[in-house]
């Protein structure tokens, strides 16, 4: 086990997959000569050349489409969109083409396409650089959507995504590229489906993903220390398809659930998880599930306002106490 940063883990996955398969290539804005906005492709240009590490013009929709077309002929493109906000421009190629080609062709054409996007709210980047768009991607049939919370998952999910025959969107996080964590030395893969229990517990389940896993873990520590509440933290990790059985299994054990999401509440991960709880295990619950989520506003620039818009561990603690009446 070596400790490495999130960006280094992503770089390692690129490097391993590109070394193995000459049809794997990376493309995106500033990923080549400049090494990538978050360094996640640094050094690859020198190693693999400009045919496989491609600096693109600022044309999100069309370079996404070029990746999709190449994938349809058996290439394994990894397309980086500089910020998730810009992926709106690529939505046509992503949802009308990548997500639907396998289905529309009656299963005759495959689209092993990978899109990596840094998402989330970082530090005072303003409303147009602070989107959390998981709700959009997870609403598209035919896509897979995964969200690494740790360097280990950042590496393992990208490797699995490259090998997967379906289109996969990986939502990373702008504030997590320097996060450190253990990553196995030997080659490994992280499943594109299923939840991961980050902390077992018995009193309540905190469902989280990506950066909110860290808020949930922090909250769980405080709940244990200050209130004697034993919280289970479940990393949803795969937002599409979602692991209904895994979600229900934890809720059946703890009988209480709080969903922690960085995104605004409407039509989001929280609403989906709570719908699943209703459908799968309503009568196992001792209380109505709660959501901890961002305010339903564009993210403000001012530092204090920005903080106020995004949830945190303290809000998770409050929600759990409310749920348990403690």
């Amino acid at each position: 086990m070596a400790e490495m940063m999130y960006w280094q883990a992503i770089l390692r996955a690129h490097d391993e997959e590109m070394a193995r398969d000459p049809l794997v290539f990376a493309m995106g804005e500033d990923i080549g000569v400049a090494g990538g906005t978050y360094k996640a492709t640094s050094g690859l240009f020198a190693k693999y050349g400009d045919q496989r590490v491609i600096d693109t013009p600022i044309s999100e929709n069309s370079y996404t489409g070029i990746g999709v077309g190449a994938a349809m002929l058996g290439c394994r493109p990894i397309v980086e969109i500089m910020s998730v906000n810009f992926s709106w421009l690529a939505m046509d190629q992503l949802m009308n083409n990548a997500a639907k080609i396998h289905f529309m062709s009656g299963g005759r054409i495959r689209c092993p396409f990978v899109m990596r996007v840094p998402g989330g709210t970082a530090h005072q980047l303003g409303a147009q650089h602070s989107a959390r768009m998981e709700k959009v991607f997870m609403g598209i049939s035919g896509l897979r959507v995964v969200t690494p919370a740790t360097p280990r998952d950042a590496c393992g999910l990208l490797k699995s995504a490259v090998r997967c025959d379906d289109p996969v969107v990986i939502i990373e996080h702008e504030s997590m590229y320097n996060l450190k964590g253990e990553v196995p030395d030997a080659e490994f893969f992280t499943p594109l489906e299923g939840v991961e229990i980050r902390r077992p517990g018995k009193d309540v389940t905190l469902f989280a993903y990506n950066i909110s896993v860290h808020w949930a873990l922090e909250a769980a520590e405080r709940l244990a220390k200050d209130f004697g509440i034993d919280a289970e933290v479940v990393d949803l990790r795969a937002l599409k398809p979602m692991d209904r059985a895994g979600i229900a299994a934890s809720a059946r054990k703890t009988h209480r659930a709080v969903v922690v999401e960085e995104d605004e509440a409407p039509v989001g991960v929280g609403s989906e998880v709570i719908a699943i709880l209703n459908e799968e295990c309503f009568f196992d619950l001792d209380a109505a599930p709660l959501r901890v989520h961002a305010l339903d506003i564009p993210i403000p620039y001012n530092r204090r306002l920005e903080k106020a818009a995004i949830p945190n561990a303290a809000q998770v603690v409050d929600a759990v106490r409310k749920l348990l009446g403690k």
Binding site: I66, L73, N97, I109
Partner: protein, 328 residues
């Protein structure tokens, strides 16, 4: 090109015409649903260009008016008609419909409904060809209206920048649905619009298949040998409405009549007759045989084919048993 090839081309164009007319009938009988965009009047474009390429080997992509591109690429007309009828034996197993024909076996990579959507896909095929090596090319057929999409400009820029072996064929039929080209576009000569991207381009008559083939040969050779894009604009006209729901009220009758005089089948038939290659009687016999084949083999196959099974409704969303190392 010898006499038998010339007769074959005439037959292919006539087959395309009769096939589309039969589709219209089936649509009125409600055997075909959804949107149906037919190709009469434009046959020389797809057939002429692909005659000069390597159908089945080169990768072809187009929009929603895709039947004839698929056929000329080598798709089985029975699988095409069955698709239009929504049957399991269709080229897309009844999941695609008229606008979404696919046949990867003959490198027909699809019909797409979003105007301008296939531009980058075609460049992506060319990128894949470039990475794998080989001398295939990608060929993208789209309309004049599609050139006002961002994907047109973005893709031309990247295709030229990265020297992608892709031939863009613009079927300029002077209208995007009911909007005449000059009401939507400043530069109506489409081939001039790629000049800033330094892509070689030409414009020619799209109604005379000999002219189309002559220009297509040069275009295909350019892309295949130089391994860089080319843009070919074909001036054409659709003799029917945009789709089955189009009354065509936006076009003057004189204009339609004028173009009807330039029907690609009429032009080519007259030429072959002038050369003494085909008599009226032979042409009639050819026509009859085509209609018989369409009725007795193709439509019949579509009618008799089974519907997809309801229990399969959710298949093909994800690849079944797709390589998933995490499952091993």
């Amino acid at each position: 090109m010898d006499a038998s090839d010339q007769k074959r081309l005439l037959r292919e164009m006539l087959f395309a015409r009769r096939f589309e007319e039969r589709c219209a009938e089936a649509y009125h009988e409600r055997q075909i649903g959804g949107f149906l965009h037919l190709y009469p009047g434009e046959e020389a474009c797809a057939i002429g260009v692909l005659e000069m390429a390597r159908p089945g080997s080169d990768y072809v992509v187009t929009g929603y008016r895709d039947h004839i591109h698929a056929l000329k690429s080598g798709m089985d007309p029975k699988a095409l008609m069955a698709e239009l009828f929504g049957k399991e034996t269709g080229c897309s197993k009844g999941r695609g419909g008229s606008m979404h024909l696919f046949d990867p076996d003959v490198h027909f990579m699809g019909g797409y409904a979003l105007v301008g959507g296939p531009f980058p896909l075609a460049a992506g095929f060319a990128k894949a060809i470039q990475m794998r090596g080989g001398d295939e090319i990608a060929i993208c057929f789209l309309g004049d209206g599609a050139n006002n999409q961002g994907t047109f400009h973005e893709t031309m820029n990247m295709a030229s920048l990265w020297k992608l072996p892709v031939l863009f064929v613009c079927e300029n039929n002077l209208y995007g649905i009911g909007t005449a080209i000059e009401r939507a576009t400043v530069e109506i000569n489409q081939y001039k619009r790629v000049a800033p991207y330094k892509i070689a381009a030409a414009q020619c008559d799209g109604q005379d298949i000999d002219v189309v083939m002559q220009h297509a040969e040069a275009a295909v050779r350019h892309v295949r040998e130089k391994r860089e894009p080319y843009f070919l604009e074909l001036m054409t006209y659709r003799l029917r409405g945009h789709s089955m729901s189009d009354s065509g009220a936006y076009r003057r009758k004189e204009e339609v009549d004028e173009w009807a005089q330039r029907d690609p089948i009429g032009i080519y038939k007259a030429r072959l007759q002038g050369q003494g290659l085909i008599s009226d009687a032979e042409f009639q016999a050819m026509d009859k045989a085509i209609q018989q084949e369409i009725e007795e083999e193709i439509v019949r196959f579509a009618v008799e084919s089974p519907e997809p099974r309801l229990e399969d409704v959710a298949r093909y969303v994800y690849v079944e048993g797709g390589c998933a190392p995490w499952q091993k």
